[in-house]
């Protein structure tokens, strides 16, 4: 199991979707449409879930059949015998799999502890859907056994029942909290602008401008000013 790398955690959740039709639409399609309609960037409900670096949702409808021609085996017995027999040739093909349920897949990379993160998901996830405020329940509503989820602790238990462990988790980023990362990005942006705008100034003028700049950006104040989670414009 390798769900953590440094202070970053990888959560992978596969929630089976109920195999039913409601008003002519499958529950999987309803769930997929709800995911499509989530607002993006700073308006995404995930922007409100503390310490979410990157996250995604999709519906796994089925697995793929490997009809490709390549083979990675040096010696494959069935492919040798298949030269002499049609039935052996057919048996050498990969087997065909069909999933019996469709799954809502949620994959997130976040900073910190899993229980705290899931509590944040339950409490903070909200977005405007054509004038209606929606919680996290709206996305998971048609998943098997989700009707038993009533509060943050049952939500945590539910997500853990659907959780799959990562075999290998690679963290190519810094190990800082999201708040720290966003403040750093804000400072990089503002200081890059400052350096470009103040070229050629006299030493005294530059020093004065720098003092004003530091008062404005407050480098050690993580709360503000900073970028907001999901900020998509400068």
């Amino acid at each position: 199991m390798a769900n953590t790398s440094g202070k970053a955690t990888a959560l992978t959740v596969l929630s089976p979707i109920v195999n039913q039709i409601i008003d002519g639409k499958s529950c999987a399609d309803i769930t997929r449409e709800r995911c499509y309609r989530l607002p993006i960037h700073e308006k995404s409900p995930l922007a409100k879930v503390p310490n979410t670096y990157l996250a995604r949702l999709f519906v796994l409808d089925n697995v793929y059949y490997e009809s490709l021609t390549a083979s990675d085996s040096i010696f494959n017995f069935s492919e040798i015998t298949s030269i002499f027999s049609d039935s052996a040739r057919l048996k050498a093909l990969p087997r065909k799999d069909q999933l019996k349920s469709k799954y809502l897949v949620f994959s997130t990379n976040f900073h910190g502890d899993l229980d705290e993160y899931l509590t944040g998901m339950w409490e903070k996830w909200s977005y405007d859907d054509n004038g209606q405020q929606r919680g996290v329940q709206h996305i998971w509503e048609h998943c098997v056994a989700f009707d038993g989820v009533k509060d943050s602790s049952s939500f945590i238990s539910y997500m853990k029942r659907c959780q799959l462990d990562a075999t290998l988790f690679f963290n190519g980023s810094t190990d800082d909290s999201l708040q720290e990362q966003l403040k750093s990005l804000y400072l990089k942006q503002e200081f890059s602008k400052f350096a470009a705008a103040n070229q050629g100034k006299s030493a005294a003028d530059l020093q004065q401008a720098f003092k004003v700049f530091i008062e404005k950006v407050q480098p050690e104040n993580l709360d503000q000013p900073s970028w907001v989670p999901g900020q998509s414009t400068p």
Partner: protein, 216 residues
């Protein structure tokens, strides 16, 4: 559908692996964690924010209620999730050119894996097994993974400089300031919304237009 959130691309790939080879694949991943050289190859691909491999044994797909049909699968499955900067081609090709042997080790046990070299069969394999993302969220859509790393350097250097030099004489301040700028040359750069560089661009454009239409 959107595989893109700002500068990040979300890749999801699901591939079958014979159930009796799963232990071998786990052993390879375990070794990769223990032998730093293997993961160092991934570190050279600084365009990656986070990536993960998840193996689902064929009898371990979550089943939460007796009413849910039990899966009856021939194969176990390996899920690969990645968050990277740039286009699909840039990413897949950079894997091939930077860590072809490591990549082959990770997927070697998978059914019909063609190896990462040459490129075309590998592209076909990934495309064949890729699933599009329905909702992708990125906490910093304007920033690449390298921006996040360089921003950390900028913050630390700025705080240190402010503490050490802001109250010096103007000439000494200027000298230190110029040193600071030299030190941060590779970390500077304004960040802006991305030029979209992949096939999902149209999907993103349509969704943004739809969002704007709804807000009017």
């Amino acid at each position: 559908m959107s595989n893109i959130a700002g500068k990040a691309y979300a890749m999801n790939v699901i591939t079958p692996i014979p159930w009796y080879k799963v232990w071998l694949n786990r052993l390879i991943f375990w070794a990769a964690l223990k032998i730093p050289n293997v993961l160092n190859g991934l570190l050279t691909l600084s365009l990656i924010h986070y990536a993960r491999w998840v193996i689902i044994p064929r009898d371990k797909f979550p089943r939460l209620d007796p009413s849910q049909p039990k899966e009856d699968l021939n194969y176990s499955y390996m899920l690969f999730f990645s968050n990277f900067n740039g286009s699909w081609d840039q990413y897949v090709d950079s894997f091939t050119f930077a860590i072809p042997s490591g990549l082959d080790l990770f997927w070697k046990m998978n059914v019909k894996y063609p190896k990462s070299v040459p490129l075309t069969p590998f592209h076909n394999y990934i495309q064949h097994n890729q699933i599009d993302t329905a909702h992708y969220y990125n906490a910093y859509p304007m920033a690449a993974s390298n921006d996040v790393k360089s921003a950390k350097n900028v913050k630390k250097a700025l705080i240190d400089f402010n503490a050490a030099s802001s109250n010096k004489s103007p000439d000494e301040f200027l000298e230190d300031y110029n040193k600071l700028l030299n030190q941060l040359q590779n970390d500077f750069g304004e960040m802006r919304p991305t030029p979209i560089v992949s096939l999902a661009a149209q999907a993103v454009k349509e969704r943004v237009m739809e969002e704007q239409r709804q807000s009017h």
